[in-house]
Subunit: 425 residues, 2 copies
């Protein structure tokens, strides 16, 4: 917390303005540093996290204790809890980001005009990024590292459950940055849990350049409604797997089980299974899912395949279960599947399983989702799996960046024009 | 106007929802057409505009007559008026867009992961674009052509002064599209001048994918405040030209005069001239501007150079004159110039004139504007001059697209993942 910020803590709008001002000043310094200097400072931040592990784990224990007292669920406590191994994972994650190729300075395009003007588009940092997240304290370090790697400053607003952990992690992180010669204010945390501070971030147009909400539906919806600052939004993952008639049956079964059950609670999990009416033995896929512990809510045709299927209601086709539950329907063929997906998909990740390459290409071309897959589990929808090294989120909007967003999505570009005295006729 | 829209014309929210639904349905057809089919349909649209010229000019004469009755200024009447030559220019503009390379389908990146998954990012249309503009009827055809070329549908809301012209142009344009086998609803016009319809467009999240405001400050500010739909905003062009001490004096004079006076009313015009204290004979540049008809508002040091300079007030440094007026200051050197620009620039286009390449590169690197130029007039800030063929606007925001925005800025991408049955461990 800066002294300036502390003095304005009672007025959230002023507080955010003060923090943003400090963050923007730090970013102006940051954007003139070399890629190597930013990478080296991140390595020092990781080192400092390791060195400060006992302080961080003590702070985390406070959060966990308070969470237990407040009756947080076991799942939430697990998301919140750090131990030596998890903290080592956080530090290693910062190092991995430090070692990612830096997109800043990349020449996206260049051209020489007939009048001799030499044009190029060069990647530059976005500026000050606001990140609003919930209980996982590792996001503090991940998001800060991604922002700094690409020359951005970060203003973090974590969940109240993790407040001590977040401050301890951030304090170590900033110390590492400063040791590396970067301004500590490149990464700041909002020093209040007052919800009005979130509103002030969302409306800080001209002060915060982009907001990344990472959290549940209610957070994301509030952000979408209230934000005056551009948002990199992540909505639901209502993801479909379409088992085409020419699908390999064993592959279809394995992909369906993995897509739903590997981790049912992630946004890349399958929520609806569509099976082609001409696919042989659809009952085997349904039975395999149920045998593996998944509840299946089916349309009438699916219900006839297995006694254990419960009937799907109209809502099921628009539901992100994030649990070991799947909706399932029989469709007449590709066009039927495409129509169902166009109507119900949240445009996150949709998959076809088929050995017919022409059908696969038609599906890849015609499904208008951020990620469209052929013969693969939707659980691969992840920045790490996509080779991006890490991700700040998975964007389901249509502008700026789509799907897993990592360093490149944290940059913009500017046009450079080099002339020899040209004036416009 | 569709029949559906006519029935809901009394409720702007319902009207926009109906138009958007029709536009989205048309876009789903459009995005499955080939690039060649879209280009051919645009050529037919241009042909139809020429064929319908007498109807379009008659409609335009109505608008011009009504404008004169309402006492519109000569400049506004001129912006509104079409004649055979201008209409031919509009038709030729559509043909030029038809002949632009199509960004849709371009593979932005591709990668094969160690697990064998083949990833690629492919450009796709954004969807339904809302365009809100003021009096120039040529925007109707330009914007429609750019949207359709890149597979987008357009929902247009023009100014009331041009209502007859816009409808006549759109009617011919749609007839051409339909003749080319594309859905006419790919391009629709909002059939009411009710200002509530603009509000309904701005809040049509999930129905309209992007809003492009083209107009004056009050329109753009309303859009920025009220929009829940992502906006490709174009704010002021408070553009600087910094004459460095090592500038060629004749080049500095020519660029300053061109940047300000070629067309003082465009967003790429220079508004502030910064002259290095060590530049020899700054009075020659100031005198040349004044002699060419430009009013100069200077700081104390500039005022001493020429009797005709009037003193600048604090506001002048933040004013977009859009007229033959310039503010001018003497700065101590590069760092001073950078500080002035960081404080006052609207991040549109800033220029350095110098023969010192190291200083030029420092300026290009350190000025964080959408366009940064060396030894060229800021009036080159234009999609056509940048080789983009046309522009839907010049974006001064930081996300998605920056500077002149043409076809590429009207696209997004999706990730395609081709597997062989991979499941995630």
């Amino acid at each position: 917390m800066t002294a300036l910020a502390a003095s304005s803590a009672e007025n959230p709008v002023q507080l955010i303005a003060d923090l943003a001002k400090a963050g923007r000043a730090a970013q102006r310094i940051l954007r003139e540093t070399s890629s190597e200097a930013r990478a080296a400072a991140l390595i020092l931040a990781a080192k400092r996290l390791r060195a400060d592990s006992s302080a961080i784990l003590a702070a985390n224990a406070k959060d966990v204790g308070a969470g237990r007292e407040r009756g947080l669920s076991g799942a939430l406590i697990d998301r919140l809890m750090l131990d030596e191994a998890r903290l080592e994972g956080v530090a290693a994650g910062i190092e991995a980001v430090a070692n990612l190729p830096d997109p800043v300075g990349e020449i996206i395009s260049s051209d020489e005009r007939p009048n001799g003007l030499a044009l190029s588009r060069v990647r530059v940092p976005i500026g000050l990024i606001g990140i609003i997240y919930e209980s996982r304290p590792n996001v503090t370090a991940d998001a800060a590292a991604l922002c700094v790697r690409a020359g951005n400053a970060a203003l973090l607003r974590g969940g109240s459950e993790a407040v001590h952990s977040n401050h301890a992690i951030l304090s170590a992180f900033r110390a590492g940055l400063e040791q590396g010669g970067l301004p500590g204010d490149a990464v700041q945390i909002v020093p209040t849990q007052d919800r009005a501070a979130v509103g002030a971030m969302l409306t800080a147009a001209g002060l915060i350049d982009m907001i990344v909400p990472r959290g549940g539906k209610s957070l994301v919806e509030r952000v979408q409604t209230d934000a005056r600052v551009p948002v990199l939004a992540h909505l639901d993952g209502i993801n479909h797997t379409y088992v085409h008639r020419a699908a390999n049956p064993a592959m279809a079964r394995d992909i369906a089980i993995n897509a739903k059950l590997r981790r049912p609670g992630i946004c890349g999990a399958m929520e609806t299974l569509l099976i082609d009416a001409a696919f042989p033995r659809p009952e085997a896929v349904i039975a395999a899912l149920i045998d593996a512990g998944c509840a299946v809510r089916g349309d009438a045709a699916v219900a006839r395949l297995d006694d254990r299927v419960t009937p799907a209601s109209a809502n099921d086709w628009d539901t992100e279960y994030l649990d070991a539950v799947v909706s399932a329907a029989i469709v007449g063929g590709l066009d039927d599947a495409l129509a169902h997906i166009a109507r119900h998909s949240s445009s996150h990740t949709d998959v076809i399983v088929t050995d017919d390459d022409a059908i696969a290409e038609a599906f890849l071309s015609r499904v208008d989702s951020a990620i469209v897959m052929h013969n693969a589990s939707s659980q691969f929808a992840d920045g790490g799996e996509f080779g991006l090294g890490a991700e700040i989120g998975i964007a389901t909007g249509r502008l700026h960046a789509r799907g897993p967003v990592a360093l490149e999505g944290l940059t913009t570009y500017k046009w450079l024009v080099r002339g020899t005295g040209q004036t416009r006729p």
